[in-house]
């Protein structure tokens, strides 16, 4: 009941005309960002953070979260109508979404996908509402060793579960941590890794890096592949929407299963993509007509979408309770929190209940609003996609440059943006995962101070990370996750020849964004 009362407080924060308007604008912008090639959700949020400097933190987080939801909705449109998964977790949606659209059932596929998003979001938000305060309460007991252990768990989950090449994931994470360490040392105030260059004294701002990696880098990739925008036209009518909605309850089993998978996987970093594939796989295996999957069956759209959106929402749980983001977009938002002067972590619930509960209430409401908005404006978003690329592309670069400059009004940041664009392009081509790098960049300073404070507590003995009960268990888990690829390789070698498990999720979609 405590949670319900807090939720009411949250709705009190959210339900002002200004915040409602902010949410609607955010969803709209997010959907556009999700639709446009080369303008991912993480990048969109990063560009817009400087615009929130003058807003109240409550409204600012509502705006950014709404962009996130809008982006999740927008990605659906490209994957169903154009067979281009805007984000990696939409890949599974194209398996059945695009065939449906080609059969002339585009409206039905879109409605089914949006409704599944709604169900997934509601499920995950329910979990968030009742679970988040408990996790926060528990993690109030965390000291530096525990915080450091949780970060290790986050990073090793990225290595063990996400990357295709574990060694490259490790390098990517360490590269992010190194970038975060450039500049002033947070404890002694000494200059590190600046090599005498004044420009490096301020360090690298993660927003600039995100805009470069995900914005400019993505543009390079898009032009290299040569963009083919051959979409299927969607006819949306009130009748299709209503008849599709009436069909939705038939898939209650798939919906609940997918939502649970999404909630569970989403808490771990990089969980949305595997969640969507798992949900699709289960739906296919447990279906009475598995042969229909891939030819355009509605269940094949429902299953991945419900899981992806549930995972997207539940990625917020570790972010607001522990200060550990579950996805790059959440990482960017977490950075925003620090910029607005809030300390992420369990104390948020105690010190700024209006902020946390306003955010949770906005998740409920924004997702409901989001379904309505995207359903009404599908033709508009499609029109944006059909705009010629030679107009879109320079426009996006212009926007990225504004975003990078506005972070701290430094010209050098625009140069960094281009440089990280090239870095992102090369990394993506060589399979160095970008998501762990961004996470590491955002968490770098926190990880370092947690580690140094722990060592001060133990007077230099590294065993403190294993002798404290909570930290020990979490670190043990971290080591297990870290070694997971090795276990799997050994098991794979043992069972070679009788491998019937089908496609490897990570081969289809390296996790990013």
């Amino acid at each position: 009941m405590e949670a319900l009362r807090s939720l009411l407080l949250g709705f009190g924060v959210f339900l002002t005309p200004y915040n409602l308007m902010v949410a609607v604008v955010g969803i709209f912008v997010g959907a556009v960002v999700g639709v446009l090639p080369g303008l991912g959700v993480a990048n969109g949020v990063a560009i817009l953070i400087p615009m929130t400097f003058r807003m109240h933190a409550n409204s600012a987080i509502i705006l950014l979260a709404a962009i996130y939801w809008g982006g999740l909705f927008g990605g659906v449109i490209t994957s169903i109508l154009f067979n281009i998964p805007g984000e990696p977790w939409s890949v599974a949606t194209t398996f059945d979404g695009y065939p449906m659209a080609k059969k002339g059932e585009a409206g039905k596929a879109l409605t089914a996908a949006f409704c599944s998003h709604f169900v997934g979001a509601m499920f995950a938000t329910l979990m968030l509402t009742f679970f988040a305060p408990l996790v926060a309460e528990f993690s109030l007991r965390f000291g530096p060793p525990e915080i450091f252990a949780v970060m290790m768990l986050t990073f090793s989950a990225m290595v063990g579960l996400v990357g295709r090449s574990p060694a490259k994931s490790v390098v990517s994470i360490l590269f992010g941590l190194i970038l975060a360490a450039v500049g002033l040392d947070i404890i002694t105030g000494g200059l590190r890794l600046t090599f005498g260059a004044v420009e490096l004294m301020g360090g690298f701002n993660f927003l600039v890096v995100v805009i470069g990696l995900f914005g400019i880098g993505e543009i390079f990739l898009t032009v290299e592949e040569g963009l083919k925008m051959q979409g299927v036209t969607a006819k949306m009518s009130m009748r299709t929407v209503i008849t599709t909605m009436k069909e939705m309850p038939r898939f209650w089993r798939t919906l609940i299963r997918g939502a649970l998978i999404g909630c569970w996987m989403g808490i771990k970093p990089g969980g949305a993509t595997p969640a969507s594939f798992m949900s699709y796989g289960f739906a296919k295996q447990l279906s009475k007509t598995p042969e229909e999957f891939g030819t355009g069956t509605m269940e094949g759209v429902v299953a991945p979408e419900v899981a992806a959106h549930a995972a997207g929402v539940s990625a917020m749980l570790p972010m607001i309770t522990l200060g550990i983001p579950g996805s790059p977009t959440a990482a960017v938002m977490l950075g925003g929190l620090m910029i607005w002067g809030l300390q992420p972590g369990p104390m948020l619930f105690k010190e700024h209940p209006d902020f946390v509960w306003g955010l949770i209430a906005s998740i409920w409401a924004s997702n409901a609003l989001g379904v309505l908005i995207v359903l009404c404006f599908v033709p508009l978003f499609v029109a944006i996609l059909r705009a010629p690329f030679s107009v879109l592309m320079p426009g996006i670069v212009f926007l990225c440059a504004i975003g990078a400059y506005a972070v701290s009004n430094r010209m050098i940041d625009i140069w960094y943006m281009i440089i990280f664009g090239v870095v992102g392009y090369v990394f993506k081509k060589l399979d160095y995962p970008l998501a762990p790098m961004v996470l590491a960049l955002v968490l770098g300073d926190l990880a370092e101070s947690a580690m140094r404070q722990s060592l001060i507590m133990s007077q230099g003995s590294p065993w403190i990370f294993f002798t404290q009960p909570i930290a020990g268990v979490v670190n043990g888990l971290a080591i297990l996750f870290f070694c997971w690829p090795a276990f799997k390789a050994i098991r794979g070698r043992l069972s070679k020849g009788k491998n019937l498990s089908g496609r490897d999720v990570r081969k289809v979609a390296p996790v990013d964004a």
Binding site: M51, F175, A181, S390, P394, K429
Partner: protein, 158 residues
């Protein structure tokens, strides 16, 4: 692709060495008033990058012995469009330092639309004037975020 992989790993190794060398200056295993000396943490990171990249390098060579086909790093014919995006963008940023972002972006839009997009002149003019103008009104006037001004045009108070 294999060559690019190896070069990238070598670059990471040299970065790691650079980081370790810089950390040595601050002391790696020392202990001062504020706890472990500031060089320890970056030193460990640098060491990790070196180790990780050595593994990547090893894997690259192991793979190259078995497999025959290797995809090129950049598919044939793809270099030109990538450079067509990269070079004008870099030029725009260079210009921004002198004439400010709005003028530079307008020029950039116009050049890109005309020579690469092959749009009609009217379309080119409309977009390359309206988009920077919209940016000006939105950011400078509404959000009150100043955007880069050029050293040459700063005096015009534009």
């Amino acid at each position: 692709m294999r060559k690019a992989d190896a070069i990238c790993a070598l670059m990471f190794i040299s970065l790691g060495i650079l980081v370790c060398a810089d950390s040595m200056r601050h002391g790696v295993f020392g202990w001062d008033l504020a706890g472990p000396s500031p060089g320890m943490y970056p030193f460990l990171l640098g060491l990790g990058v070196i180790l990780g990249s050595v593994i990547v390098l090893g894997q690259t060579f192991l793979r190259s012995r078995g497999a025959q086909g290797d995809k090129p790093f950049i598919p044939p014919g793809a270099l030109k469009p990538v450079l067509c995006v990269g070079i004008p963008s870099a030029l725009m940023i260079l210009l921004t330092q002198y004439i400010g972002l709005y003028l530079a972006a307008g020029l950039y839009l116009a050049v890109y639309m005309r020579w690469i997009g092959r749009h009609r002149w009217t379309a080119v003019l409309v977009v390359s004037i309206l988009l920077p103008l919209a940016g000006y009104l939105l950011f400078e006037k509404w959000f009150q975020i100043p955007l880069p001004e050029g050293s040459l045009t700063a005096r015009l108070q534009f």
